[in-house]
Symmetry: C2
Subunit: 170 residues, 2 copies
Amino acid sequence: MALDELDRLILRALQKDARQTNRDLATAVGVAPSTSLERVRALRERGVIRGYRADVSLEALGRDVQAMISVRIRPPSRRNIEGFREWVSRLPETIAVFVTSGRQDFLVHVAVPDTNGLYAFVIDRLTQRPEVADVETSVVYEHRRVPAIEPARDRDRGGPATSRHDGAAP
Amino acid sequence: MALDELDRLILRALQKDARQTNRDLATAVGVAPSTSLERVRALRERGVIRGYRADVSLEALGRDVQAMISVRIRPPSRRNIEGFREWVSRLPETIAVFVTSGRQDFLVHVAVPDTNGLYAFVIDRLTQRPEVADVETSVVYEHRRVPAIEPARDRDRGGPATSRHDGAAP
DNA sequence: CCTGTTCTCCGAACAATATTCGGACGAGCT
DNA sequence: AGCTCGTCCGAATATTGTTCGGAGAACAGG
């Protein structure tokens, strides 16, 4: 299950552009096409790569406003939690659902056309569910995703969160 | 900028598997390969498709614990907000950053090997920044992403959040 | 109703790519 | 050294991407 540096390079390249040709990928990571192909196949079979997704612009779809909605479920029984999770996952405004511990039980990430849509989502949809005890809306000004693979550095595991990495250049 | 049903079918298909061959995509959406190819190119040039990303399993990377960390910045000046955003985006534990309105200024989505790593992230990293006034950690039990494209139904825009969609089948 | 225009879609030809497979090479072990 | 194991490579083949001319539908104006 260990990933060597070649695997990491491949994962990083495929997170930037999953649709580049295998030839380009091979060139980018410095091996022969047959090698990179075999590695990619292995990564998929091992479950390291779960799939490939198109990154669709929400703005281009006319959904310019994003929000993170904190939801508290009462009582937080398994039945209520799972029921709400399934229901909210199927709403067209929803783009992600986090089931969490802490102050709230859910964080629902939504994208809507405008602030009206946001308001409507909260008051027309969420508050109609009886198990929803409390709702708190935070508008998302910016959403930045970060690639999950580190530049190089062998072995990421083992030293959790204590590696040198404090913003100041050494 | 309007998307017809064929565009939507293509976007949906590419969100499920962005690496399927153009032939398969064409078959799936019911057109000739040359047609789907042209549509996909147009969608990319229009910015509807921003790119293609490999979906990498965090568990396979040994990062089994996820959390959403709510951070309040004081004072919330532009300098502080942007400084913190850049800094936290570069931490290896960070997988997403939301800049928000509301109780907190940031929601930081992190993935770490274990709860120790989570604790270390908060007390070793976050609280070392002087502008961080308050931190609240929520463990993420489950993170579900939802495809951003609706099944079919012409025109998504115009009727924000008021479409029929309440879980109960008609 | 006809005609010209525009747009979308198609299918075949060509260029490029993915995929397979036998073997070379080096590391590690006895 | 001799052996085994694993990785990587390069050429051959099958599959795919890409281009382009033209057919057909939808539409507006006469």
